[in-house]
Subunit: 221 residues, 2 copies
């Protein structure tokens, strides 16, 4: 069996073990057994538990980013509308995280809190997705207004909000078996787009004044 | 000095140390020194590093939930409109997480991934906030429609999205020094309410059809 194929089998086993048992609790014995190879072979190919975990993060991060970017690419002519790009990207995101729940657990739960260099690797992936979403929102605002009236800083905040909402819903959909990827994407699209859509048209939410308290009935004075 | 006061000082020092250095890296020596007490006294009062960490989670979770519920309470007569309640709750949330960045790091980053019982404690707090937000959205939908036309399940998803967006923005605002709590709350309110507002009025986002490709100019055939 070629080395590259063997290595992918080891990574498959490692992602599953790290995702389900956590980075610290996972053992190299377990991973080797699940991959159907000897432990020395895992060490020969991937050096250490740390490097194996890093390789899992890199593979899963690259696969997730590729899935989202591929779906929401938007290089077609005539250009796909921004809401459609967002919908395609979200559908791809929730489909991917539903199909690879262990990969998602590695990225979202495990990698972020096991110290460096893992946290930095996953932060870089998240930055890439946030910056992709930022560009999408900025372009949509520009094409709606001609002149972008959403300040750059607010666009960055909106992208952070959208990515956080997607992360939260991915966890929820993976726990609630009955929620499909399509349904999670539709829920977030309704939430996000009608909101972003309103902003694009210059409709902003403004706080309504707090209503005055009811007058006290004179009989109780 | 009364025991209760001393204990709060120890918790202050512990939250700061756990939040800034991480649960594992934090040492009891460091915490005792920062609290200005002896290490044996910390053990006498709080038993172990695990119990000290649990006490930090419980205190910070209770403070955060109280801040949000207190601000978005909505027991006044006449009732405060749902968007105003949400705005008040979000403002309180971002003000609280900005004032207590170490407490937020303990809840959001540290506690969730140090295994049980910590993860369960912080999950319970998150559940409480999600369920509070779910009620708020369901009530708003009911008062807008008379009859709730948003299915219960979708309301739960919207609440998950909103809470995830708030978590993401809190982290962002704490890193970007220039983003105030008010600004973070306004960004999320614009994002969320115009979206939720559209849903309340029965305006849903629907995917636009993918545009047909441009016809190939006949000269290139």
């Amino acid at each position: 069996m070629p080395r590259a194929v063997r290595e992918q089998q080891m990574l498959d086993a490692a992602v599953r073990t790290f995702g389900q048992r956590g980075y610290r609790a996972a053992s190299m014995d377990e991973i080797a057994e699940l991959a159907g190879v000897s432990k020395p072979l895992v060490y020969l190919y991937l050096n250490s538990k740390e490097q194996l975990f890093s390789a899992c993060i890199r593979r899963e991060a690259a696969a997730l980013v590729a899935a989202v970017r591929g779906a929401a690419g938007g290089t077609s002519v005539p250009p796909v509308p921004a809401d459609r790009q967002l919908w395609d990207g979200l559908t791809a995101f929730f489909t991917h995280t539903a199909e690879r729940p262990d990969g998602w657990a590695v990225l979202h739960s495990q990698a972020r809190t096991q110290g460096e260099p893992f946290a930095a690797e996953v932060a870089a992936m998240r930055e890439e997705i946030v910056s992709f979403v930022t560009t999408l929102i900025a372009e949509a605002a520009r094409s709606a207004h001609g002149d972008p009236s959403l300040p750059e800083r607010e666009v960055a905040g909106l992208a952070q909000a959208l990515v956080g909402a997607a992360e939260s819903l991915a966890g929820w959909a993976n726990v609630e078996d009955s929620v499909s990827a399509k349904e999670a994407a539709a829920t977030l699209m309704n939430f996000a787009w009608a909101g972003l859509g309103g902003l694009m048209e210059g409709r902003r939410w403004v706080p309504s004044p707090v209503p005055a308290p009811l007058p006290v009935p004179s009989s109780s004075l």
